[in-house]
């Protein structure tokens, strides 16, 4: 009998020869992620009665959710996080402005294919883009991991999604996700490990691959997986070279981190799946998801003409260089419609720098856009683009829940970066091909 990716990854993380769906294992994650919530977790940690984190090198902490601090309370919270980082000697710490946790950890190759990352953030599914096992957990669990280095996990059943063919012009990985979630429902992947296969997936750029497992949090998934290939290994090897050297992991029995492909895992051909679905990439149009559910998605045509007051380009879903490139191409030589704000927030400082070098930032500013500091921005309603009652925002983010951008009486539509840019120019939800 063969094994799925999830079965193999969690068996390895638990030091077992094998594991099967339904089994509960004690896993030792390679990385435990937290962000602005680190101070709150540190409070729980202290109630355990432990002074020191067991393996500080396995923690990764990024300040990204409300940066730079918008209020004295946020400033105090950040100060407590920095104090914790200093006291515990945390190496993988990313200061305000470096970028969104999932982006900066990917850029810095803090996690590698086949490894396990658990995070106090529901989009920790993200790391499936490189074939790592990433899952969101609760704050108490993170505190327990800091103290003991291990946590029980149930090995999930797996769903196999095969996407054949090639995505059409103007159709992105985001549209693919909105399409799948719309078809199978926001709980369609509940608790499962979602494995993506097929030609359409293999042909995606690395940045596009990052969109898919990130969005699978909106499908109810525990984790998602794309098979890593040479492009992934090359990217991560380069990232490791670029990174300011940090002490390599030296725990016994560990493979040197430089060998990025050494731990890569692939499901067996005869692995057992709870269900399998096949989609033809050619059938997928540009999609938009309407308020207040991600699975309330429909082809762009269905929403075309809806007036918007804000357009937001950013987040861990679609704030990368190729997203900015797509939007800049639409915006170049045009202006943001009067009565509309276009807010552009690169996912990381690296993305911002590259976007500057390529002239995208110039394009945005000339069109009348606002450029924000790398981080989560208004994605979860903390700051930098909160909506007013009755306003409509079209966003490249992953969630459109009621109140998500700080105002329950506002509406959020989700779309790909080109559609968001075209809508900013038109003042209504618009197909970029029709501008």
């Amino acid at each position: 009998m063969g094994y799925t990716f999830a079965e193999k990854a969690l068996a390895r993380a638990a030091g077992l020869p094998s594991a099967v769906a339904g089994q509960v294992v004690d896993a030792r994650p390679d990385i435990v992620l937290s962000h602005d919530n680190t101070a709150a977790i540190a409070k729980i940690f202290r109630t355990i009665g432990v002074e020191r984190v067991l393996i500080p090198d396995r923690l990764a902490i990024a300040l990204d959710h409300a940066v730079p601090a918008p209020t004295p309370q946020h400033a105090q919270n950040h100060a407590e996080v920095r104090k914790f980082v200093r006291e515990q000697g945390i190496q993988h710490f990313f200061e305000v402005g470096r970028g969104i946790c999932h982006q900066v950890l990917s850029e810095a190759a803090v996690i590698l294919p086949g490894q396990l990352i658990l995070g106090a953030d529901s989009h920790t599914t993200h790391y499936g883009w490189m074939g790592a096992f990433g899952a969101g957990i609760g704050r108490t669990e993170v505190a327990a991991l800091w103290a003991t280095g291990e946590l029980w996990l149930r090995v999930p059943e797996s769903m196999k999604i095969t996407v054949t063919g090639r995505l059409g012009k103007g159709v992105t990985a985001k549209d693919l996700c909105l399409y799948i979630i719309g078809r199978l429902g926001a709980d369609g992947g509940l608790y499962q490990s979602i494995e993506f296969h097929g030609e359409a997936i293999e042909n995606l750029s690395l940045e596009s691959r990052m969109v898919i497992p990130n969005m699978m949090a909106e499908f109810g998934a525990k984790n998602a997986y794309l098979p890593p290939d040479q492009a992934v290994f090359d990217y991560l090897a380069e990232a490791l070279r670029r990174r300011v050297p940090t002490p390599p992991h030296t725990a016994e029995g560990e493979t040197p981190r430089q060998d990025v492909s050494a731990l890569a895992l692939y499901p067996d051909a005869d692995a057992r799946y709870a269900s399998s679905h096949t989609f033809a990439a050619e059938d997928i149009p540009p999609m938009v998801s309407g308020p207040h559910r991600v699975d309330a998605s429909a082809p762009l045509d269905h929403f075309r003409g809806k007036a918007v007051q804000q357009a937001f380009l950013g987040t861990c879903t679609n704030g990368r260089l190729e997203d900015l490139a797509l939007a800049a191409e639409v915006i170049r030589g045009r202006s943001v419609a009067s009565g509309v704000r276009l807010i552009v927030i690169p996912a990381s400082a690296w993305v911002l720098k590259e976007a500057m070098q390529r002239g995208y930032i110039q394009d945005f500013i000339e069109a009348g856009a606002v450029i924000g500091v790398p981080g989560c921005g208004p994605c979860m309603g903390n700051h930098l683009g909160i909506l007013a009652p009755g306003e409509v925002c079209i966003s490249t983010a992953n969630r459109n829940f009621k109140g998500r951008m700080g105002q329950p009486e506002a509406e959020i539509y989700l779309a790909n970066p080109a559609v968001v840019a075209a809508s900013a120019v038109a003042g209504v939800i618009m197909d970029p091909q029709e501008l």
């Binding site: 339904g22 509960v24 004690d26 355990i48 432990v50 108490t140 505190a143 525990k222």
Partner: protein
């Protein structure tokens, strides 16, 4: 490494049985989440919108049987604690909402996945759950279930994750107060 006993003695209890897709809102209504704090009050509203008889009639030691996706929806931990405070000994379901399952174990409630036992049992049946053998006994028939890990069992035996970690690390200090929060 783990110095705490990880065994839970076999549990026998009377079954309550519910269907598929029971969400956290009907297990513990959202309108109470920020107002009720006392365990007895929280327990009094358990399953209020699913089965109005339950809170009045359930006895400590009873077992809940459920269909697929028990506890889907919100991450509110009261959906676990209302049943724990009611004295429910275990929940046996065909499947659990992901966060509910984690919250359940981390709050010290025994959660078992066993579709066959759920299908076979009737309300009022007496079930025996033997975690050491990973088997449910029902009218003389054994229904095996995927074993819980020693850690999951010892978390339940300890009464929850924070206390479990304290036991495991041999921490007996009483100057810190154990708190727990639900999964995210």
């Amino acid at each position: 490494m783990d110095k705490t006993p990880s065994s839970i003695p076999p549990i026998s209890g009377r079954a309550w049985k519910y269907g598929d897709g029971v969400n956290t809102d009907v297990i513990f209504p959202g309108k109470y989440t920020y107002t009720l704090r006392e365990p007895a009050e929280i327990a009094a509203h358990a399953l209020e919108d699913l089965d109005p008889q339950f809170a009045a009639q359930a006895q400590p030691g009873d077992i809940i049987l459920a269909g697929k996706n028990w506890g889907n929806g919100s991450s509110r931990e009261q959906a676990v604690t209302c049943l724990k405070y009611k004295g429910i000994a275990a929940i046996v379901a065909k499947s659990f909402g992901r966060i509910y399952f984690r919250n359940g174990i981390n709050q010290g409630l025994l959660l078992i996945t066993c579709a066959e036992a759920v299908d076979a049992a009737q309300p009022g049946d007496i079930l025996t759950i033997d975690t050491a053998q990973s088997v449910i006994l029902l009218r003389g028939h054994p229904y095996p279930f995927p074993p819980l890990s020693p850690t999951a069992l010892s978390i339940i035996a300890a009464g929850g994750l924070v206390q479990h970690v304290r036991n495991k690390l041999g921490i007996t200090r009483s100057d810190v107060v154990a708190v727990s929060e639900g999964g995210g």
